[in-house]
C-alpha cells in the first residue's frame, strides 16, 4: 500500500485505520471531538443509561454556540443573565453539567475561549493537521483548512465516539478542485468557494472528499482556507482538505493545545509529509480558472444559486434541467425576485457578519476596512457583527474594530452562531432580505420567510453602507 502514490485524504485515512471489517467498513480512530449543546444531550444520556464512560475525555472539547443569545451575558453586577427560551436554556444547562460529569474540558458562555465550535478548534490548536476531527454539526468540514480530515456526524455517532473514540465508516472517493491562476484584487476566499459551489453544484462532491489544490490556496491565509473548507458540505462533499504548509505551522505554533517543544518539531516533520503524492489519482477532478471569479452572491435558496455581483437574476428557463427550472422558480417566488433584475439593485434590510464561515479576525478586518469612516444606509434596519469566539472578540477590540462597526451603526455582539440559523433570538424577519456571510441560504434558515443572500464579509459591509447588494470594488 505504501508504494502506491496516495492522495492526502488516503494518507490520513490509512493512518487512522484501526481495523477493516469483511464487508469493507472500517473502524477509524478519531483524534478530536467537538461537542456543542444541540446534538449532544441524548448521547450523554445514552452513556449514562448504559453505564459507559468517555474513553478519552482529553480528546473532546465542549462549547455552547448554537442556542446561545449573542446579547450581553452578564448584568451590571456581573451575574449571568438567564436565557429566556426554556428549551435552549435546558440544552445549555445539560452541556454545562454533562461536560464535568464526563471529565470533558468545557468553555461556558462567559469564558473568553467560548465561541463557535469550528472557530474555537483551530484557534486553540485543538484541531491539528493530519488529525481526524468530528462534531455533531455538518460544517465540521471547516477544519480541513488546517489539513485535518474533519466531518459532521449524528447524535448516535456522537455517542459512539464518546464511548469508543472511533467510528465505523466506509472510505469516500477523492475529488480534486484545482484552481489555476490568481484571484483578481478584491476577490476573497468566500467569493471563490461560492463560485466553486456554483460550478460543481450542491451534489458535485457527493460521496467524495474534496482536496483544494493550486497556488491560490497556497497563498491563501489560514482563515481563508477555513472559509473554503467550511462550505465543502454545500458542494455535497463530506469533507474538504487543504494540505498543511508553513503558513499552517506558523498559525498553530504556540496556541494553547498545539504541541510544544520536541513534540512540535516531530509533529511539523510529520505534517510536512501530508500532501498528495506526485502521480496520485483522484476519482474526480474539476479545474477552475481563478481569473474568472468575481465577487459572488447568491440569488436563490440553494448555495449553488450563485452569480457575480455584476450579473442578473437568472430566468428559470435558462436552466437545461427541468427539475432545476422548477426549483429556480420556487426560489425566485420565495426570494421575491424577478428574472433579469440586476443583482446590484437588490435592497437589503438586514446585514449579518458572522458564522463559522466568516467570523474570524481577518473577516472582521475586511468588513471594518470597508466600514471605516462610513455609515449604515437608512434602509438597513438591523446589522450585526458577531465575532466567532471570545478570543476573536478580544483581538478585534484591541485593534479598535468594534468602534469602527459601532460608529458605522452596526451592533457588536457576543460570540455564537447567531443569525446563521434560526435557533436563537437572532432572526431575520419574514420577507426581509439579509446580506449574510453565513453558509446556507435555505428556505427559513435565518428565520421563517427570511431571504438570505450569501456574500463575503467585505460585500456584507458594502451592502450595509449602500443598502443594496453592492460590488465592494465600486466603493473604494
Amino acid at each position: 500500500m505504501a508504494s502506491r502514490p496516495r492522495t492526502l485524504y488516503e494518507k490520513i485515512w490509512d493512518g487512522h485505520l484501526v481495523e477493516r471489517r469483511e464487508d469493507g467498513t472500517c473502524l477509524i480512530y478519531i483524534d478530536r471531538h467537538l461537542v456543542h449543546e444541540v446534538t449532544s444531550p441524548q448521547a450523554f444520556e445514552a452513556l449514562r443509561i448504559s453505564g459507559r464512560k468517555v474513553r478519552r475525555p482529553e480528546l473532546t472539547l465542549a462549547v455552547p454556540d448554537h442556542n446561545l443569545p449573542t446579547t450581553a451575558r452578564l448584568d451590571e453586577k456581573g451575574h449571568r443573565i438567564p436565557i429566556a427560551d426554556p428549551q435552549s436554556a435546558q440544552q445549555l444547562a445539560a452541556l454545562e453539567s454533562n461536560a464535568p460529569e464526563f471529565g470533558i474540558r468545557y468553555f461556558g458562555a462567559t469564558d473568553i475561549h467560548q465561541g463557535i465550535v469550528h472557530v474555537v478548534g483551530p484557534e486553540l490548536g485543538f484541531s491539528l493537521p493530519g488529525a481526524t476531527i468530528v462534531c455533531g454539526d455538518s460544517h465540521t468540514s471547516c477544519h480541513g483548512g488546517i489539513g485535518a480530515l474533519a466531518f459532521g456526524i449524528g447524535t448516535s455517532e456522537v455517542e459512539h465516539v464518546l464511548a469508543s473514540q472511533t467510528l465505523l465508516l466506509t472510505q469516500s472517493k477523492t475529488m480534486e478542485v484545482r484552481v489555476e491562476g490568481e484571484l483578481s484584487p478584491g476577490v476573497t476566499p468566500k467569493d471563490l468557494i461560492l463560485h466553486i459551489i456554483g460550478t460543481i453544484g450542491t451534489a458535485g462532491g457527493t460521496g467524495h472528499v474534496i482536496e483544494y489544490r493550486g497556488k491560490v490556496f497556497e497563498e491563501m491565509s489560514i482563515e481563508g482556507r477555513l472559509t473554503v473548507c467550511n462550505m465543502s458540505i454545500e458542494g455535497g462533499a463530506r469533507a474538504g482538505l487543504i494540505a498543511p504548509d508553513e503558513k499552517t505551522f506558523a498559525y498553530l505554533k504556540g496556541r494553547e493545545y498545539a504541541p510544544k517543544g520536541e513534540d512540535w518539531d516531530r509533529a511539523v516533520a510529520y505534517w510536512k509529509t501530508l500532501k498528495t503524492d506526485e502521480g496520485a489519482s483522484f476519482d474526480k477532478s474539476v479545474v477552475i480558472d481563478a481569473s474568472t471569479v468575481e465577487p459572488t452572491v447568491t440569488w436563490g435558496t440553494s448555495p449553488e444559486d450563485t452569480v457575480s455581483i455584476g450579473g442578473k437574476v437568472p430566468a428559470p428557463e435558462s436552466f437545461a434541467d427541468p427539475s432545476k427550472q422548477k426549483a429556480a422558480q420556487a426560489s425566485l417566488d420565495y426570494m421575491g425576485l424577478q428574472p433579469g433584475q440586476n443583482m446590484s439593485d437588490i435592497e437589503v434590510q438586514n446585514v449579518f457578519i458572522g458564522s463559522c464561515t466568516n467570523s474570524r479576525i481577518e473577516d472582521l478586518r475586511a468588513a471594518a476596512a470597508v466600514l471605516k469612516g462610513r455609515s449604515k444606509a437608512p434602509g438597513v434596519k438591523w446589522a450585526i457583527v458577531v465575532p466567532g469566539s471570545g478570543l476573536v472578540k478580544q483581538q478585534a477590540e484591541e485593534e479598535g474594530l468594534d468602534k469602527v462597526f459601532i460608529e458605522a451603526g452596526l451592533e457588536w455582539r457576543e460570540p455564537g452562531c447567531s443569525a446563521c440559523l434560526g435557533m436563537n433570538p437572532d432572526k431575520v424577519p419574514p420577507e426581509e432580505r439579509c446580506a449574510s456571510t453565513s453558509n446556507r441560504n435555505f428556505v427559513g434558515r435565518q428565520g421563517p420567510g427570511a431571504r438570505t443572500h450569501l456574500v463575503s464579509p467585505a460585500m456584507a459591509a458594502a451592502a450595509a453602507v449602500t443598502g443594496k447588494l453592492t460590488d465592494v470594488r465600486d466603493l473604494s
Partner: protein, 200 residues
C-alpha cells in the same frame, strides 16, 4: 440495550401508509435533552382525534404497532425511534420501512418486521381483539388463531437484537484493537494523544 427475543402482547392496529417521522414525532419535540419523555409527543397530531388507536384503553402499553407501507419515511431524526421506545413499542410490523428509520430502530433495539400486505391485513384484524406474538429466533409472527407468518431479517441484526448488542457495545468488544492503535499512536505521534490535557 435490552435483548429482544420474543415480543408478545397487544398490537396497535394502525395500518396507515407512508407514516413519516413528522407524524411519529413532530419537529417541535427536537429541542429536547432526553430520549425519555418523547412518547408523550409520539403521533401527537393523530392523537388529537379522540377515537385514535393509540389512546384506546385496551391498547395501553402495547409493545407492537401494525402499520402500512413505507413506515418511517422523511427526515433522519433519531427522535422517531426514541419516541416509539418511550411509548413502550418494541416492534413494528409493516409491508416496508424507510432505510434510515429501520437503521435508527435497530440502533435503539426496536425490531422492524416486514410482511406482505395480505399478512398485514390479517394481523390488523386480529389486533383489534387479540394479542400477537413475534418470535425472533424462529423469525415468525403468530396469532392465537394458528396464523403463522415467517419473515426475513439480516443475520447480523438478528444476532445483535437477540444478544442486546448495540453498535457501541459491538465496537467496544474490539477494545484490544483500539487500545493497540492508541499505544502505537502515543509512541509515534504523541502530540495527537495529549488533547486538552496539554493546557497552559
Amino acid at each position: 440495550m435490552d435483548p429482544v427475543r420474543e415480543v408478545e402482547g397487544r398490537a396497535y392496529p394502525f395500518g396507515l401508509k407512508n407514516v413519516d417521522t413528522d407524524i411519529i414525532i413532530p419537529a417541535h419535540w427536537l429541542k429536547t435533552i432526553s430520549r425519555e419523555g418523547l412518547g408523550e409527543g409520539a403521533f401527537e397530531a393523530l392523537r388529537k382525534d379522540e377515537n385514535n388507536v393509540f389512546d384506546r384503553p385496551e391498547f395501553a402499553g402495547a409493545p407492537i404497532i401494525v402499520a402500512g407501507d413505507n413506515f418511517g419515511c422523511g427526515s433522519s431524526r433519531e427522535h422517531a425511534a426514541w419516541a416509539l421506545l418511550d411509548m413502550g413499542v418494541k416492534a413494528v410490523i409493516a409491508p416496508s420501512f424507510s432505510d434510515i428509520f429501520s437503521g435508527n430502530a435497530f440502533k435503539n433495539g426496536i425490531l422492524t418486521v416486514a410482511l406482505p400486505q395480505a399478512a398485514i391485513d390479517r394481523l390488523m384484524e386480529v389486533a383489534e381483539t387479540d394479542p400477537i406474538s413475534i418470535d425472533l429466533e424462529n423469525q415468525t409472527v403468530t396469532t392465537p388463531f394458528q396464523d403463522r407468518f415467517t419473515f426475513e431479517i439480516d443475520p447480523f441484526r438478528k444476532h445483535c437484537l437477540m444478544e442486546g448488542l448495540d453498535e457501541v457495545g459491538l465496537t467496544l468488544e474490539r477494545d484490544s484493537a483500539i487500545a493497540g492503535y492508541e499505544a502505537r499512536q502515543t509512541g509515534e505521534m504523541p502530540w495527537y494523544a495529549k488533547g486538552t490535557a496539554l493546557s497552559a
